[in-house]
């Protein structure tokens, strides 16, 4: 007996998907605020990297005679108490924020992912112990942990990088561990295993991309917090410690008493911090939406 003769015509899907990353990139580029954030970040990075080339003055040299000038033609952001050009100092401050901030996030990723991977991979008692350690770190809230570590290690750029990095490690550790645990038992990994895929292939093609995306988003958002935390440490007098180095937080502390007479000395470094932070926050949010389309707004 013959079966039905109908030939099935399946309508093609409206847009063929071309891989996770390319799709995500396309979504990201279409995201207005995220692109604005990217512009801010580019401005910040260019300012930092090109400071020695585009800064009109030397950040450490100034004469008190020329101090506390409001913004004018020769000094577009004015001069600070010691007569140093504010615009130059803001540019050089970007270098500190950029280097210290990004390295801090990198350290956080390093420590966090190490701990998270071991905990998630080994499981059992090791997992329990490591997570308890993370809980201890998390018990000291926010910037207080970084403050404590700087108090212990002393001042300096590297110490700040470590301090801020360690204070972010718990978040990354938990993220990675959570991803690994969830993925180990997820339906599609079991499906891949049942099809005979080797563990390495499973790890690379199935688990990593999914574990990576929350980390990428979190790292971007952490960059925003890092810029703020680094400036915060500088503000509290726990900054790099070198008086010749221009750091945004320290610039704020130095100028605080001139709030009434020279508010621009607070406004410009403050605005620089805010714009850089907004940039990373917007990009981070955009990445989150682009990389996980299932998330409804």
């Amino acid at each position: 007996m013959t079966g039905p003769v109908a030939s099935a015509v399946v309508r093609a899907a409206p847009r063929a998907s071309r891989g996770l990353w390319r799709d995500a990139l396309r979504r990201l580029v279409r995201n207005g605020p995220a692109m604005l954030g990217l512009v801010f970040i580019v401005i910040f990075v260019l300012g930092a990297v090109l400071a020695p080339l585009i800064a009109p003055y030397d950040p450490t040299i100034g004469s008190i005679v020329q101090g506390k000038q409001p913004p004018n033609m020769t000094h577009i952001m004015g001069t600070d108490l010691l007569g140093r050009d504010e615009f130059t100092r803001v540019l050089y401050g970007a270098r500190i924020s950029l280097t210290v901030g990004t390295v801090a996030v990198f350290f956080g990723l390093l420590f966090g992912c190490l701990i998270g991977a071991i905990a998630g991979g080994a499981g059992g008692a090791i997992d329990g112990l490591l997570m308890r350690f993370i809980d201890v770190l998390l018990a000291v809230p926010g910037i207080l942990l970084a403050i404590g570590i700087v108090a212990w290690l002393g001042q300096g750029q590297i110490q700040i990088m470590l301090a801020v990095g360690i204070s972010y490690a718990p978040i990354f550790a938990r993220l990675l561990r959570g991803s690994l645990l969830a993925l180990r038992e997820s339906d599609y990994v079991i499906a891949a295993r049942s099809m005979g895929a080797s563990p390495a292939r499973i790890l690379l093609r199935h688990m990593l991309p999914n574990a990576l995306t929350p980390l990428i988003v979190q790292a971007t958002l952490a960059a925003a917090t890092a810029i703020i935390d680094v400036a915060g440490l500088g503000f509290l007098g726990l900054g790099p410690g070198d008086p010749r180095v221009a750091e945004w937080g320290e610039m704020l502390t130095d100028s605080a008493r001139f709030l009434q007479s020279a508010p621009y000395l607070i406004f410009f470094p403050g605005a620089a911090i805010v714009i850089s932070a907004i940039g990373f926050n917007l990009l981070g949010d955009g990445l989150r939406e682009a990389l996980d389309p299932r998330l409804k707004r």
């Binding site: 308890r132 350690f133 809980d135 201890v136 018990a139 000291v140 809230p141 926010g142 910037i143 207080l144 403050i147 404590g148 700087v150 108090a151 212990w152 002393g154 925003a224 703020i228 400036a231 915060g232 503000f235 509290l236 007098g237 726990l238 937080g249 704020l252 605080a256 709030l259 009434q260 508010p263 607070i266 406004f267 403050g270 911090i273 805010v274 932070a277 907004i278 926050n281 917007l282 409804k296 707004r297």
Partner: protein, 334 residues
């Protein structure tokens, strides 16, 4: 439910122990001789010997730790090198100031954040939602100290609406009884002192509360939107209930659950942020004390303060977790 509470409390204890070990080591592992690090310029052989005596630096490490632990459990948190007062004494004097600041910030963040979040959720992607999103973005992108100084400049320097520094005008002669600025002002019986202390709280509370405001708003919005899409909300509408009844009884009662968890976490943000806020507005709370102690190398104080901060944070989280379990019938009755 009881089992849940007991389990949580038991779980917190090892964390505190671990923290005490780390903080204990913090002091002992300072580069060089801890006594010299603490004393700094004031180091004389006499004082160094004294510190060694007090901290028991010559004894084996584990003995030192047990002594340290014993002291802690008896409420002995050490004393300040600078003014020789015990940590506990100064803490009792400074802590209420921080508490008042934190409560003020919390009231601002939650009191404004939840209504804003609900408003944004009612018209997703509308102009109110966009405005709320922008406010949230600025909330997390503007550091406390930048916001603080900006507000002081606008409202204090230019407009003269609000005072800039401190928790109260010292010329009003309010005696410190409880060390809560507003409570002391009320107790002094002078109405303009009360007004004065409240007006001193406004700017710092806003500065400190800016990040929690952004987070609470975002989470409330997300929670309300998620819950609005749940089946039981559809059932409620199908029964012919009014929109306000649906909003309050069905949507908010369920949206509260994730929001309370977030508020608990924000307390940590408030404690950490108090350090910066008290520095900007020169309030004499424990936050500014941490900073001055570090600058003065008063490490015993730093060690004890961090431990206290962490304990407070853990306790608050514990209370929030238990509160959540209480609010959620699925956990309460299981």
């Amino acid at each position: 439910m009881l089992r849940f509470v007991v389990r949580r409390v038991l779980g917190a204890i090892p964390v505190l122990f671990g923290l005490s070990v780390i903080l204990f080591l913090f002091l002992r592992l300072l580069p060089g001789d801890p006594a010299i690090a603490i004393l700094g310029q004031h180091a004389t052989p006499q004082l160094i010997a004294q510190i060694h005596e007090t901290l028991g630096l010559d004894k084996p490490l584990y003995v030192q730790y047990l002594d340290y632990l014993a002291n802690l459990l008896q409420g002995n948190f050490g004393a300040s090198i600078i003014d020789s007062r015990t940590v506990v004494d100064t803490f009792l004097q400074r802590f209420p100031v921080t508490v008042e600041l934190t409560i003020g910030a919390l009231i601002f963040a939650v009191g404004l954040g939840i209504p804003l979040g609900r408003l944004a959720a009612r018209h997703p992607n509308g102009w109110i939602d966009g405005l709320v999103t922008v406010i949230s973005l600025f909330g997390i992108s503007i550091p406390i100290f930048v916001l603080g100084y900006t507000m002081v400049y606008i409202f204090g320097v230019q407009l003269h609406w609000l005072p800039a520094l401190g928790s109260i005008d010292p010329r009003l002669g309010v005696t410190a009884v409880t060390h809560f600025p507003i409570v002391d002002a009320i107790l002094s019986g002078k109405p303009n002192a009360v007004i004065d202390s409240i007006s001193h709280l406004i700017l710092p509370a806003i500065a400190l509360g800016s990040i929690p405001l952004a987070t609470v708003t975002r989470i409330t919005r997300a929670a309300v939107i998620d819950v609005s899409n749940e089946d039981y909300v559809r059932t409620a509408r199908a029964k012919g209930l009014t929109q306000s009844r649906v909003d309050d009884r069905h949507i908010m009662r369920n949206a509260w659950l994730p929001v309370t968890t977030v508020i608990g976490l924000q307390v940590g943000s408030l404690l950490a942020g108090a350090v910066l806020t008290e520095t900007v507005f020169t309030w004499n709370g424990v936050g500014s004390w941490v900073v001055s102690s570090i600058q003065n190398h008063d490490y015993i104080v730093v060690q004890s303060l961090i431990l206290i901060f962490a304990t407070i944070f853990l306790v608050v989280n514990l209370i929030v977790d238990i509160g959540y379990a209480f609010l959620n019938p699925r956990i309460r009755y299981s």
